[in-house]
């Protein structure tokens, strides 16, 4: 499944669109950036409430396929700019991490 499919199937709002053909093979939830950076699997959808500029660096370094801001968490303006520069897909959902992750689980099965 790619980012575009995920977006459509789960009705996610697009905040930053880069490579929507990028494959998603896993899902990871976390807000502690050091923790996420060392454990998030490559090519995952990363669910978080952290929408600051450091999240973008972590997403880039950990090679995640997209960030999904859950519970409508805000994305800082400078983070948006940096995501556009670094080519990080960012989506948004009203749902919380648990609910969204269960749906992603079904889609990835």
């Amino acid at each position: 499944m790619n980012v575009k499919d995920l977006c459509e199937k789960l009705n996610l709002k697009t905040i930053v669109k880069d490579d929507f053909d990028r494959e998603i093979t896993d899902c990871y939830i976390g807000d502690l950036l050091s923790w996420v950076m060392s454990r998030a699997p490559k090519d995952c959808a990363w669910l978080t409430v952290m929408g600051n500029i450091n999240s973008i660096a972590v997403a880039s370094l950990a090679d995640v396929s997209c960030i999904i801001l859950v519970e409508n968490a805000a994305l800082d303006d400078d983070a948006k700019t940096k995501a556009e520069i670094h080519g990080i897909n960012i989506l948004k959902s009203e749902e919380n991490s648990y609910n969204l992750a269960t749906k992603i689980y079904e889609l990835l099965k």
Binding site: L32, L33, S34, S38, N54, A57, V58, L61, D63, K82
Partner: protein, 141 residues
């Protein structure tokens, strides 16, 4: 060694928004060179943690990167306060970072442990009131 590619970056001290620039650039460079993806990821993560450490604790510093065909060597140096207890700093969960840093998603006491986890060799030289030098080596599998 003559076949190394040498890179040098300054890490600004008070600016969280620019931390990660050096690691991002090194990552890009290694990709262009066709480096092993796992080694690239490990270098980038270790460097980013070290950059964040320099921003949080040491008012910035610099890093020197030497890329060899079989390994990447990184020196991250600062003129900060030094690390009082290296053994403690190496424990997961031990942190002296202020609260504002935690609000940004850092300061969980995972920096140095992460760096150790992701590198093949890590050496710390630190002196109180003088600064810290961190030597890292990541082998290209």
């Amino acid at each position: 060694m003559s076949n190394a590619i040498h890179l040098h970056y300054e890490v600004p001290g008070d600016d969280f928004t620019r931390a990660g620039e050096a690691s991002g650039l090194v990552k890009k460079r290694l990709k262009v060179l066709g480096y092993d993806p796992d080694a690239i990821r490990r270098v980038a993560i270790a460097m980013y943690e070290a950059e964040i450490n320099m921003v949080i604790h040491a008012n910035g510093g610099y890093c020197d990167v030497d890329i060899y065909p079989d390994r990447v060597e990184v020196l991250l140096a600062d003129s900060g306060p030094g690390i009082e207890n290296v053994e403690k700093a190496m424990q997961e969960g031990y942190s002296t970072a202020p609260d504002n840093v935690r609000n940004l998603g850092f300061g969980a006491g995972m920096g140095l442990p992460n760096i150790k986890k992701y590198t093949d060799d890590m050496r710390i030289e630190t002196e109180l009131g003088v600064g810290t030098k961190l030597y890292l080596t990541v082998n290209a599998n």
